[in-house]
Symmetry: C2
Subunit: 412 residues, 2 copies
Amino acid sequence: MTVHAPRRPRPEGPPAGGDTRGALPTVDGAREAMGTRGDAPAEGPYPGSGEDRVPRHGEDVAVGRVTLQTVADHVGVSRMTVSNAFSRPDQLSSELREKILAAADELGYVGPDPAGRALARGATGAIGVLLTKSVRHAFTDPIAAEFFGAVAESLAPTGMAVALLPSGLSTERIPARDIPIDGALIYACAGDSEALSWLRKRRLPLVYVDQAPEGEASSVLLDDRGGARAAARHLVELGHRKVGLIAIDWYGPHGLIADPTVRGTNYVANERVAGWLEGLGGVEVVAVQAQSNAERDAYEGAQLLLDTEDPPTAVLCFSDLMAWGVVHAAHDLGLRVPEDLSVVGFDDSALARSVRPALTTVHQDLVAKGHLAAQLLVSEIARVRAGEPVEARHELLPLQLVVRRSTGPAPA
Amino acid sequence: MTVHAPRRPRPEGPPAGGDTRGALPTVDGAREAMGTRGDAPAEGPYPGSGEDRVPRHGEDVAVGRVTLQTVADHVGVSRMTVSNAFSRPDQLSSELREKILAAADELGYVGPDPAGRALARGATGAIGVLLTKSVRHAFTDPIAAEFFGAVAESLAPTGMAVALLPSGLSTERIPARDIPIDGALIYACAGDSEALSWLRKRRLPLVYVDQAPEGEASSVLLDDRGGARAAARHLVELGHRKVGLIAIDWYGPHGLIADPTVRGTNYVANERVAGWLEGLGGVEVVAVQAQSNAERDAYEGAQLLLDTEDPPTAVLCFSDLMAWGVVHAAHDLGLRVPEDLSVVGFDDSALARSVRPALTTVHQDLVAKGHLAAQLLVSEIARVRAGEPVEARHELLPLQLVVRRSTGPAPA
DNA sequence: GCCGCCTACTGTATCGGTACAGAATTCTTG
DNA sequence: CAAGAATTCTGTACCGATACAGTAGGCGGC
């Protein structure tokens, strides 16, 4: 039998608090290393004597490497008992537990190592959040940020952490594949994302948000379609008979869209457009695809709609930001809002409230969405662990039309 | 010897993709067993012939439980070789590697299990970010959000994930103690946070941000003091001889502060105040502590400063938001900005640029801060792993005074 | 033809814990 | 007072991987 030196010396930081115990790394065929001697409790199968002594698990060969075994040896109990002292207090007398905890503290044992525990328990205590757009987007975009804030907040009491998984650029390390997590939230990612497919392969509990789920996963969706429909009906009720649509992620190049019923790849965009069309019924429609969800692009798109012989009397926009761009374009064309042109936004962001005229828009409860998504995932993870059958749940959150000052009766 | 039933049945989702291979992994001289023997829970129809058979490591007992060993057995190579195929391609012929990868794919083996790998390698690939204020704050506050965005962005190419560690409310699970991470960023946390002390006990590489480091940890700080000093000098140069200060986290209750030199607990607030005082030299100072960093609270604080016999001719504010509140208060008191009152903000947020008058403020490069913090931590982690000595580094990022329209010469 | 050096794999010993069945005692209880 | 039930702790067998030493051929050099 060959004996190997202990690997991974674990380059230590400052030595454990004032603890200058033996050190002597005594590798290989070592005569005893400080802690456990041949007389350690229950050393039964070990003749203890001399040669060929492999440093056994708990032996504190490298200074500072304190594990359950270290503590166990120190107190004179089994490793299992120490584990119980930390993780299942009801399994031992509180007296012994105190003693163990004290010894642990003295030795500088922090508590069960998360990595070891994760392996043994099969759970890590973290859930992933998959982000396809730039990670930064999650923080920068107010809509996304609000959602994530709610998720994190709702997770905090459960003691779970949120791991942001960038859909890596590096080939070497792919967070979605390599980070230990118990489940994940898929947030508005293109379905073909490679990272997503890793998560699916891992067979982790997944909850899709703002995106149609694949496979048997659960989902939390906002009723974008219903909200859009309500917005459209609102215009119809106001008497508008020709309505413009301005959105993103349709198909083809940006500019005027021949057939607005053709669907693109963006789930949310598709739903909103579909809802608009449903709500508008037979009303005449002109549609424009903007280059991006930005005020400037919406401004340009609006020009295509409004700077014509027979412009629409109202415009439905993909976002408040875009609506704001449309309002600007209208003003610059000499149109008053809402007297000459009604404009409807989407999202009910802070902007919608603060600008003049305040925007009629569709409000979404991002906090509820975040809470719901988090809860769904957590309960699903719990269910899987308990061995209970999981069934995918699909939640649809209602949106609300908020009528403010940017819409009015169709001009005569 | 007793036989234990396999624990943790790993409640399976849908069975592995159509693969119903007979399992017979025939490990060392054992007859094969497809399940375990009669002591398993919910045992029933187990034709298990022979005697006591302990399911050995690689045996594919539970359908869907595919590990390195499963693949190894399937291909007929050692487990180690499979591991190398995934993690160290240079260790085997590319021919064999292809074969292994194909088999793995067929068996539905996703790749090395992150938890197992984390334990064996001693690294998880995630870094933590400690948040003391509400987790939500990280997303809601634009300053924090911008910083985190930069951190995440800068980490993405390295393939590391960011784990948000709420400073838990639950006693049971404490993320800072229980989540597997390789290092952490401490972002503007009160020093007494319990979560922080766990991180320190774990002896993880830490980088403090916007907070004086404890122990031997590195830090990234903005030169708040220098920035504040520049802002104060600017006022002095404009001839102001009595200046108001409005900030938060001083000491005692909010309202007028008798001695502005007394320091509070908020590192950033302390530095800014100190910088102001340095820059103001002997100029007369009146100080107010606002209840929070909000426009409304600043508004009320400003009234205390301005609605007096002999008001200051300029006010230095802890943030742009507060400056905006001060501007409002001034207007409502009939004071013009900057003719009658100069106002200086801090942060150079979007607000400072968009309001009228545009605010003179102190610009900070949050993106640089994020990148730097991330890089510092990553390199420190790499150094520790490589066994190289780590030395704490302390970076101080300069701030820049941006003079806009809210400041002017002191009124005669 | 013997030796040393590569290359490609394999064996063994961990990494640091947890689950579960036992075993040793003590406490009930009929 | 003995059998049964609690209460405490211990032993064994993993969780799923990686590090490192070691070994078996193949091959060029002298």
